[in-house]
């Protein structure tokens, strides 16, 4: 089915800010009924989470070094109107080092691990800790979770985000997003 793609115009905006307490940077994208928030996540934050569960050292490092962001997507539409928002992360594209590619999805990631890489309880942390791949949001709904981009700490990239409003596809771009540095780059 061919869908009309509408670029974000007029109401779209991106604000970048830095948390003065922890130094983590945040990108806040808004358009008509959508708000997307990406907050840097230090590799050590991911290590701390995963070390509390049965993951192999290799998987912990794989995840820690995959440029993760705490991500929140919210339907900001009025509940009085027909404002259904749909997100499919497999449609999102990132531009890094002159190439375009997809964002990391949790399903193939989980499929790639053996039982020694992650036991059943550990898999639940990733299954429910990473951002839902596809989801519909009614006004007032929001979800949170980790998104991962699979590039080295400290890298910069552009992210083309897409969403549907009542079946109409929209897109916008968040430019110059920075992956959090690893601990050896922190002052």
């Amino acid at each position: 089915m061919a869908l009309l793609v509408l670029p974000a115009l007029g109401t779209a905006g991106v604000k970048r800010s830095t948390n003065e307490e922890n130094g983590l940077k945040k990108w806040h994208f808004t358009d008509s009924i959508i708000a997307i928030e990406l907050v840097q996540r230090l590799p050590d934050q991911t290590r701390a989470l995963l070390m509390n569960h049965n993951f192999s050292r290799e998987v912990i490092e794989q995840m820690a070094l995959s440029c993760m962001f705490q991500t929140i997507i919210r339907n900001t539409g009025e509940s009085s109107g027909d404002n259904r928002l749909s997100i499919d992360l497999s449609d999102w594209r990132m531009q890094f080092a002159g190439k375009e590619g997809p964002v990391m999805m949790k399903e193939p990631l989980l499929d790639s691990w053996s039982d020694t890489d992650a036991d059943a309880a550990a898999r639940l942390v990733v299954r429910w800790g990473m951002f839902p791949s596809q989801q519909d949001y009614q006004p007032g709904d929001y979800n949170w979770g980790l998104t991962a981009y699979g590039i080295p700490p400290g890298s910069r990239f552009d992210l083309q985000v897409t969403w549907q409003e009542n079946g109409v596809l929209h897109q916008g771009t968040i430019k110059n997003i920075e992956c959090a540095p690893d601990v050896d780059k922190l002052k």
């Binding site: 945040k26 049965n54 993951f55 639940l124 989801q135 709904d141």
Partner: protein, 177 residues
């Protein structure tokens, strides 16, 4: 698992800080919405033990509205809504409304330690294997459903809410037979 113990003594409060990054802090409160679930979608039945060892079967609560909240201790918005859920529980517990919070994937000790910082008085059920949550149409945490007295799913809320909001509770009260 080579080289890694099953559980490291990382304090819960530290994990909470690390996970949250205050990502959801300071968000202006929006309208407290419950999305009606169209049709007659029957709530999947379950039997789970709560943290006090009491068994709960959803179908035993037929005849009453049941609020079912799926959560974990490491989910920032889950923690955000627990205090308002507890306030709501004290408001509606004598009004024939049931509230069950289903913890996904964690054990009793983890929940017990967590409850020192986030005390709750309503039942916390444990779905340690994640089998129950997989039976429900949950995509992310927290997700809350309101089951009508006839067993159908009446409402859904994705993300946290202020559960003691009067308008929100009135919608749930209106389901009573």
């Amino acid at each position: 698992m080579p080289g890694l113990p099953a559980r490291l003594p990382v304090p819960v409060w530290l994990l909470i800080l690390l996970l949250a990054g205050c990502a959801v802090c300071g968000h202006a409160r929006a309208e407290q919405t419950l999305t009606p679930v169209p049709g007659k979608v029957l709530a999947p039945d379950f039997t789970l033990i709560d943290t006090n060892g009491k068994q709960h079967r959803l179908s035993d609560y037929r005849g009453k509205p049941v609020i079912i909240n799926f959560w974990t201790t490491w989910c920032p918005p889950c923690r955000e809504e627990l205090p308002s859920m507890n306030r709501a529980w004290h408001t509606i517990r004598e009004e024939g409304v049931v509230m069950l919070a289903i913890n996904m994937g964690e054990d009793e000790d983890t929940i017990f330690i967590f409850s020192a910082d986030y005390p709750t008085d309503f039942p916390i059920l444990m779905d340690q294997s994640g089998e129950v949550i997989e039976q429900w149409p949950v995509k992310g945490l927290p997700t809350t459903y309101v089951v009508a007295p006839d067993g159908r799913i009446a409402y859904r809320a994705i993300g946290s809410r202020e559960w003691d909001d009067a308008g929100l509770l009135d919608k749930i009260r209106a389901l009573r037979q």
